[in-house]
Amino acid sequence: MQVGQTDKTSVVEFPVVEPGHTYRSIGEKISNVVLNIHTPLGWVFAFGTGSILLMMYLISVAYLFAYGVGVWGINIPVGWGFAIVTFVWWIGIGHAGTLISAILFLLRQDWRTSINRFAEAMTLFAVVCAGLYPILHLGRPWLFYWLLPYPNTFGLWPQFRSALAWDVFAVSTYGTISAVFWFTGLIPDLAGMRDRAKHPMLKFIFGGLAMGWRGSARHWNNHQKLYLLLAAIATPLVVSVHTVVSFDFAIGQLPGWHTTVFPPYFVAGAVFSGFAMVVTLLIPIRKIYHLEDMITLRHFDVMGKVILTTGLIVAYGYITEAFIGWYGGSQYELFLIKNRFVGPYAPYVFGLIFCNLVAPQLLWFKPLRTNLTVMFILSLVINTGMWLERFMIVIISLTADFLPSSWALFVATPWDWSLLIGSIGLFLVLLFLFVRTLPMISVFEMQELLHKQEHGH
């Protein structure tokens, strides 16, 4: 099955598309995932699991709305509990999509083509999961629009010196641009679906979404210009969102939050976890839909390298943060370092070191990068590690700040856990609905790629 498994020292890499495809076969294979009446069992299983977890999420939210945020383990001083930990975790996962779509597009990396649509969709759903958390955390979530600067009779206005207000703009801009970018890429394929669909209802829906796309030269010209422009706009957003999230912590004075390496280190950590999540999801989906010829081992090899690189940048962040913590000589910083390793949450910290620093070193070896069992387990390990990292940053720092009299431990309640696990359900349901209803691989870009492979231009 492992076609293209050549001598590992060879510079001839695995192909991005396996040989034997034509323009037509690509189009049919991808659209049939959606248009076929038959639904694979794997999909039913994944969607079913997601739905059960989503139920748990909805129950947790209902209970939260009924009884207030007191149902969580948050207290004074740990006002930012799981909600913010998980918010940062999801928003980090949402970074891979735009990086793959925009930056790799500008860098002309051809391997992005078969995974960009999927990664963008994943980004959108991760942003949905992330964005809900701060709103749920508000206490009075129905007043969330107070976060926006709008003229009102209360004289209410956001505090612009707070990074939390910047977050509102950063995340909503990111969500908007990602959605527009994703939809722009979809238009030609939606028209293709319209033309292939048999059922009049499907024709009507896809036709409406395709917005009159006829594939004329002028359409293509405008489309390509817009796509390039959106890629350029989206590129700084990849960096800005997690930078602003890191400011939520870094501009404060709390030990463990306030360190200048945070912005690039958060961005690297986000890409690290985002790629891990893409790997986690692509491995089963590739199997369910037999997409081995379009999502090849080359993709996993390259993604493994990206994960390794960003993991090393994260390691650089840990090293400089710890060194400067000691070098700065503040007794509070010194206590924080000690508290992380021998304090009540030490198992979390050691878990994080194993997941984020030790385990990813396996990716140095190409046979492991192209071994999907290893990659799948490793991607789960990394995602756990990144959640633990945010736990360390948010919660351990808050439990023990400057004044021992104000210290308190944080103990998560079942509602904390149910909301965390439930949010994975929300994510899975959205993602598998997408896989079933829209082309998850960009047909026209794959056809273009095939053309390039065959003709060299």
Binding site: V11, F247, T260, F262, P263, T320, Y327, G328
Partner: protein, 389 residues
């Protein structure tokens, strides 16, 4: 191959002139030693950190090129390889800093006793400081030699050898990791410890981002000097210069990003041990330097580099590269000198030192550049890169 064929006479002449100018400038600087010893060492450190950007930047770019590939790297690979062979020279040139370290670094002979310095003493002490310095140069020199040796080996065969890529990649992966760590701590040692109470975990990255700007601008200028010289002229196309300019855009943006993040984080928290660094650098006339950096080291080059058509005007890019190299000196001056002077203080030594040290470095660089053919012929990946169409 005959030595004289590798570089055109015009470039060899630049090398000789750079040496003459460099030696004259350093001789003038030596006079300064007898006039104002303290200032001599301070300006020397400034000039040294300026010259050091080039080999460090070359090392970073070369290892990234080997790991990531890309058409741009094959054209300037020989420049970068020559750049990383200059570490032995930089190791010799650092001796005056060792001699004058007592006057440069306030933690060595503090005016009064500080408990905080006792805390830092396991790191900030003279033997360990010198030991680290030796270690950094050993690491950089070895990586420089290793990468060059692998590159020579790659060229020494008749048929491109796929294994040579794997070897270069391995050397680069190890090299890049060691480089990031050693260079970070070198910057902590030689620049951050000028104000020993101050600290910032991103500080190493800010300097390293600057080295990338410097090395990329420098490569663009070297490419420009060789653009009519056979056979490398076939690689030095306007597409290449446009690619290099794209990198400049990325590096300028990254430098601005990390510099601004550090500022915003320290400004917002407003902690006394941190904010003093900016308080000095925002007052006493130093604030004008900071503003100049915002407008001329970031906004102006960013604006120019954003336009695709600008990047294809070679003359503009060459001027911009020179301008960026000038702005690097303003940046480093603003980083280093306020540690000694609360109000702006400019001495003639601040001009002769960077000119002298960079001049001597440039001569040494051109000597290294003359050692092997400029065009990469036996890299299997390069042969796969399709002609741009």
């Amino acid at each position: 191959m005959n030595q004289t064929q590798i570089l055109p006479p015009s470039v060899s002449r630049i090398g000789r002139n750079a040496l003459v100018i460099g030696i004259i400038a350093l001789a003038l600087g030596a006079v300064g030693f007898f006039i104002d010893q303290e200032r001599f060492f301070q300006s020397y450190l400034f000039g040294y950190m300026y010259a050091l950007q080039f080999p460090l930047g070359c090392l970073g770019l070369l290892t990234i090129h080997h790991l990531a590939g890309g058409r741009w790297g094959y054209s300037i690979r020989r420049f970068l390889e020559a750049g990383i062979l200059t570490f032995p020279l930089m190791a010799v040139l650092i001796i005056p800093i060792v001699v004058g370290m007592g006057t440069i670094f306030p933690w060595i002979n503090p005016e009064e006793h500080y408990a905080l310095l006792d805390h830092k003493a396991p790191y900030l002490n003279v033997p360990f400081f010198i030991g680290r310095m030796v270690f950094y140069f050993v690491v950089w020199t070895v990586i420089g030699l290793w990468l060059n040796q692998q590159s020579v080996k790659q060229e020494s065969v008749d048929v491109p050898d796929p294994k040579s890529v794997a070897r270069l990649k391995r050397a680069s992966a190890i090299g890049l990791i060691l480089f990031m760590l050693t260079a970070t701590f070198a910057v902590f040692d030689w620049m951050m410890s000028l104000q020993p109470f101050w600290f910032s975990s991103i500080y190493g990255v800010i300097y390293l981002a600057g080295t990338a700007i410097a090395a990329m601008s420098f490569s663009l200028l070297v490419g420009n000097a060789l653009k009519n010289h056979e056979p490398i002229s076939e690689l030095l196309t306007i597409d290449l210069f446009s690619d290099l300019s794209n990198f400049l855009l990325a590096f300028v943006s990254f430098w601005a990003y990390v510099s601004f993040s550090q500022y915003l984080i320290i400004y917002s928290a407003n902690l006394p041990e941190e904010i003093t660094w900016y308080a000095i650098r925002g007052n006493g006339g130093w604030g004008y330097f900071a503003l100049a950096l915002v407008f001329f080291a970031f906004a102006l080059p960013f604006g120019i580099l954003l336009s695709k058509s600008n990047k294809r005007v070679l003359k503009l890019m060459v001027s911009l590269a020179m301008f960026l190299l000038f702005m690097r000196s303003i940046d480093l001056f603003w980083h280093i000198m306020p540690a000694f002077y609360e109000t702006v203080s400019i001495s003639w030594l601040d001009f002769v030192m960077p000119i002298g040290l960079t001049g001597v470095w440039l001569w040494f660089f051109i000597m290294q550049l003359n050692r092997k053919p400029l065009v990469v012929r036996r890299d299997p990946r390069f042969q796969e890169v399709p002609a741009h169409g």
